[in-house]
């Protein structure tokens, strides 16, 4: 019997191509003089009425082929009526009472710096940008609304018809939290903030389209996390049949969430222009465009009230938060719903109430960034846990442990509704064991000695811990097609797209194991709607769970068929057959065997032979003359197709711990040790999972210590470049990240797996806040924290020590009432 590949560190098959620069990202497709290039004129103002757009001079520029404004989109002679409508609101929710989306090109009003106003197509990007410079737009300025405070104050409105700038208000309650808090022996209140950051994949957005007038088909390459989603949206908006549109996403240079949005204005304008001009058209955004006109995430202001007993047990938890969703809401309420539900982490408060307002501001929209609302939720909960421990004078791990859902309590029903509209029910996990592991890994119990030793040298160190639970593998479904060719090669297709997760490797491992073919013979295609039109997309750590399960099931079907045909051919019993390295043989009788390629030949009864092998399947060679060549309940071809659609999400979990050192002079924050305990069920490929964790931690460090979108009060993004928006380079990530795995299988899918893509980033803000607070001895309530922020806090607390009340310190809410 061969070694199973699932669970092994199989090196990635896609890497050779990438290493030689052979990755096919969208900008690498259709390179050449026949392709035209698009550029977009973007609003320089955060809030303004568009009075007039003058494009008269533009077509005089040599090499310009087309210029469009909203007026052109509304021109029924050129455009389908759908192009003049707002972009789709992708995820409606009953609580989103005031959802708004933008137009492909601004109509009457602009609501953020970067909003698309006009679209030009020219012979190359240089010429297209020359043309943009000739467009004259007259704006009437409106007062901009920037930041949660301005949105809440609602002195000015983003959209005239949205009172209070409130897009949605959603409340969920379990029990009576305010009453439980009032009756609790101890109470605390915390005010917390988290700043905006962004996914910032190294490859930005890009779209290329080619219209073939002869076949009436549109082929489109786009850098997306959902090829099938783009296909459906483009067909509807361009007035085409779904069958006329093919969307391909070969390689993606990172996504991290932002590329789940669709259709971007350019994803409609580019194919439309390709159709009108009869030439391929390409749009590749530049880095500034990515900063100001794609999407951000994270920004929230939170207020937590909690009541607890002497052990730190949560009796009541009441959370209110304000979520800045930017100028538009195409992605609905997914991010704040995730914050409000995943905030619970591994804990079970006695009673819980959470209410959020999702607010409009004149900034670029907010949609999921790796973690998607979880980092903020975990931050709120873990700050609360630390505050309780500090209040009671208890070890921070003890307070967490008394609140854990216990291993024998699964499935655990939180009695809330999750982001997929399904009940929030955890399927499995072992939080106490995770805690033991992380304590051992980071050296929690030995830390006092470390701290004392550091202190003796005049150094300041601190340790922090944060726990999370992550709903992964959300539905509705994914599908897979496994096709054994007559050469014995196995072609596998699944519809979701790949942004570096090593799908071509992991999915091939699954097929090789299940079907019994050679790993090298498997080729996986993702994100090609011609190969698998039914799909949802890559987000919410769902690819391995959803497509992995579907591929496993499809490979099983292909195997069943192979065994059936081989049993006939070998005149053996199916039960006696095995498939190893692509050869079907009778167990214990090695002479009696047939290759999968030959089985594929036999699976397809032929009239015409096309090579030596196929002669074996022609009409005078095979088949029982008394029966139809293809049985009534059968199909030609050695294929398997299947779909996986789980009842609900599966919940991964983990804990991070970090030891930091803060510089007494420069306030620099150095990472001395970073430890991760991670439970994503069975591991398909530990090397890839660890890569995902490492990458997530790197982004988490960025989010906790460096990254912040700096908008000024007029809504200009001041740091829209890699030079000013600080992301971790190799110099900012710690030398080693210690990882330990726990494998609590999910009962919800055939492989027992859970998602792993986002975990690394989820607890970062919380774990750094915890460690810095531990080092410095004062509460940390705003993240990210830069050296200058830390300096300001030190100043403030040095002053506060002389008697002034400390506004950032968690307070007993009942004290406030007494005052």
């Amino acid at each position: 019997m061969t070694t199973r590949l699932v669970g092994q560190k199989v090196p990635r098959v896609e890497d050779q191509r990438f290493l030689r620069g052979g990755g096919k990202y969208v900008d690498d497709v259709l390179v050449g003089a026949t392709t035209l290039h698009a550029a977009v004129l973007r609003s320089p103002h955060a809030h303004a009425r568009v009075v007039e757009i003058d494009v008269e001079d533009v077509l005089d520029v040599e090499g310009v082929h087309l210029v469009w404004t909203y007026e052109d989109l509304a021109d029924a002679a050129v455009m389908p009526a759908t192009m003049a409508e707002p972009l789709p609101l992708l995820i409606p929710h009953p609580a989103l009472t005031h959802g708004r989306t933008q137009y492909a090109l601004a109509k009457d009003e602009v609501n953020y710096v970067g909003e698309a106003v006009a679209f030009v197509v020219a012979s190359d990007r240089y010429v297209a940008e020359d043309a943009l410079a000739r467009i004259r737009v007259t704006y009437d300025f409106l007062p901009p609304v920037v930041g949660v405070d301005a949105a809440r104050a609602a002195t000015n409105l983003v959209h005239d018809d949205v009172p209070g700038n409130v897009g949605a208000r959603l409340e969920q309650t379990v029990g009576d939290a305010p009453a439980a808090i009032a009756a609790a022996p101890h109470r605390l209140a915390l005010d917390l903030t988290v700043e905006r950051s962004a996914c910032m994949p190294l490859e930005g957005r890009g779209t290329v389209a080619r219209w073939d007038p002869d076949s009436g088909r549109l082929t489109m390459w786009t850098s997306t996390q959902t090829a099938s989603g783009v296909r459906a949206a483009v067909a509807v908006k361009l007035g085409l049949d779904l069958g006329q549109v093919d969307v391909l996403t070969p390689d993606t240079g990172g996504g991290f969430g932002v590329k789940i949005n669709h259709p971007w204005p350019e994803e409609l304008l580019v194919p439309m222009a390709a159709k009108v001009l009869g030439r391929p058209v390409k749009f590749t955004e530049d880095r500034r465009e990515h900063f100001i006109s794609s999407a951000h995430e994270r920004g929230q202001v939170q207020h937590v009230e909690v009541g607890f007993d002497d052990d730190g047990r949560l009796l009541g938890l009441d959370v209110e938060f304000w979520h800045d969703h930017g100028a538009y809401t195409p992605y609905g309420l997914i991010v704040p719903i995730i914050t409000s539900t995943q905030l619970l982490g591994p804990y079970k408060p006695g009673a819980y109430r959470v209410v959020f307002e999702s607010l409009y501001t004149n900034t670029v929209m907010v949609t999921p960034y790796r973690g998607a609302g979880r980092p903020q939720g975990v931050y709120a909960m873990e700050r609360t846990m630390d505050a309780i421990a500090a209040y009671l004078g208890k070890d921070r791990t003890e307070v967490r442990a008394v609140n854990f859902i216990q291993p024998d309590e699964f499935p655990y029903d939180h009695q809330m509704v999750f982001q997929d509209g399904r009940p929030l029910v955890y399927d499995s996990g072992d939080y106490p064991q995770s805690l033991e592991k992380i304590k051992a890994l980071v050296g929690w119990d030995e830390f006092t000695a470390v701290r004392d030793a550091a202190r003796a040298e005049g150094r300041t160190v601190g340790i922090g811990l944060a726990c999370y639970v992550e709903g992964t593998g959300v539905g509705p479904y994914e599908g897979a097609h496994v096709h054994v060719e007559t050469s014995g090669k196995v072609k596998v297709a699944t519809g979701l797209t790949t942004q570096g997760q090593g799908h071509a490797t992991v999915f091939a491992q699954l097929v090789a194991d299940e079907l019994g073919c050679r790993f090298e013979d498997v080729e996986v295609v993702t994100g090609d709607t011609r190969r698998m039109p039914y799909s949802v997309g890559t987000f919410a750590s769902r690819a391995a769970v959803m497509s992995g399960s579907a591929i496993h099931l499809a490979a099983k079907r292909a195997k069943e068929k192979a065994l059936r045909i081989a049993a006939d051919a070998l005149e053996a019993d199916e039960g006696d057959l095995e498939i190893v390295d692509g050869i079907v043989s009778v167990r214990g009788a090695p002479g009696s065997s047939i290759s999968l390629g030959t089985v594929a030949v036999l699976s397809n009864p032929l009239r015409y032979a096309f090579d030596e092998a196929s002669k074996a399947a022609t009409q005078f060679t095979v088949g029982d003359p008394g029966r139809p060549p293809v049985a009534e309940d059968d199909e030609p071809g050695l294929e398997g197709k299947d779909f996986y659609s789980p009842e609900r999400s599966t919940f991964a979990s983990g804990m991070h711990a970090v030891i930091v050192e803060t510089d007494p002079e420069t306030c620099e924050i150095r990472i001395l040790k970073y430890a991760v305990v991670h439970d994503c069920g069975h591991l398909l490929n530990p090397m890839i999972v660890e890569g995902q964790v490492h990458g997530g931690v790197a982004q988490g460090i960025g989010g906790a210590l460096y990254e912040r979108m700096e908008y000024d009060e007029s809504g200009q993004l001041l740091n829209a470049s890699f030079m000013d928006f600080l992301m971790p380079y190799v110099t900012e990530v710690p030398d080693g990240i210690d990882i330990d795995h726990l494998e609590t299988p999910s009962p919800l899918n055939p492989l027992g797996i859970k998602g792993a893509g986002e975990a690394g980033v989820i607890p970062s803000a919380a774990v750094f806040a915890s460690a810095i607070e531990d080092a410095e001895g004062f509460p940390i309530t705003a993240m990210p924290i830069s050296p200058s922020d830390l300096f300001a806090l030190r100043q403030q607390h040095a002053a506060g020590a002389s008697g002034a009340p400390d506004p950032s310190r968690p307070s007993d809410p009942s004290d406030q009432e007494d005052r």
């Binding site: 092994q8 890497d15 030689r20 190294l202 470049s721 890699f722």
Partner: protein
């Protein structure tokens, strides 16, 4: 204004007419269809467009093509033909540094990778020639690539952004090729017998 220039890229000579304002990166990608150099920022801030230009690592987005008439360029697609590489540029052959990236999982989406590879090869060469870095203690002492510690490797690679965060693998790969000891606590090149066993 158009100008005619000659560039040799990965061993192939191209005569090409470019608008004088065309960056070297755009000339490579758009005019010569050499897409092995990637564009991450176009502002010299990410390193993904790094190539070896006349033997030195160079950002192609920050320089004009016309400034490089007659120059020789090697991209990640051509490094295997360099000294120390397999000596050819067959589509499957890799430079030892690329092999090490593969073995140490120094990449995910692959977008920064061609730039990382060129930068690392160029960097090791600089070290070999004795160039100090910002963190080199003794500027008089000659540098031996094998002695580059983590801080040196990191500092010298600090111009290459990897948003996927594959930095650990990148550092391990570079240290292996430099001939130094593996990072503390890190194994040698990870063993890969499992897959062999399955064959």
């Amino acid at each position: 204004m158009d100008t005619s220039i000659t560039l040799t890229v990965d061993g192939r000579r191209h005569d090409v007419v470019v608008d004088t304002r065309t960056t070297l990166l755009d000339a490579l990608r758009e005019r010569l269809a050499v897409t092995s150099a990637k564009k991450g920022c176009d502002h010299g801030q990410c390193g993904s467009c790094t190539v070896l230009l006349e033997g030195r690592r160079h950002l192609t987005c920050l320089t004009l093509a016309v400034a490089h008439d007659g120059d020789e360029i090697v991209t990640a697609a051509g490094v295997s033909a360099l000294e120390g590489g397999a000596g050819d540029d067959a589509p499957t052959s890799l430079h030892p540094l690329q092999e090490a990236f593969l073995a140490h999982d120094g990449l995910q989406c692959g977008y920064c990778t061609p730039g990382q590879v060129c930068s690392a090869i160029g960097m090791l060469d600089e070290a070999k020639q004795g160039h100090p870095s910002h963190v080199t203690d003794d500027l008089e002492e000659s540098v031996d690539p094998a002695d580059l510690d983590d801080d040196e490797v990191r500092e010298r690679m600090s111009g290459n952004l990897c948003r996927c965060g594959a930095y650990g693998g990148i550092v391990d790969a570079i240290r292996e090729v430099a001939g130094g000891a593996p990072r503390e606590g890190q194994p040698d090149r990870p063993a890969q017998p499992e897959r062999e066993a399955a064959r």
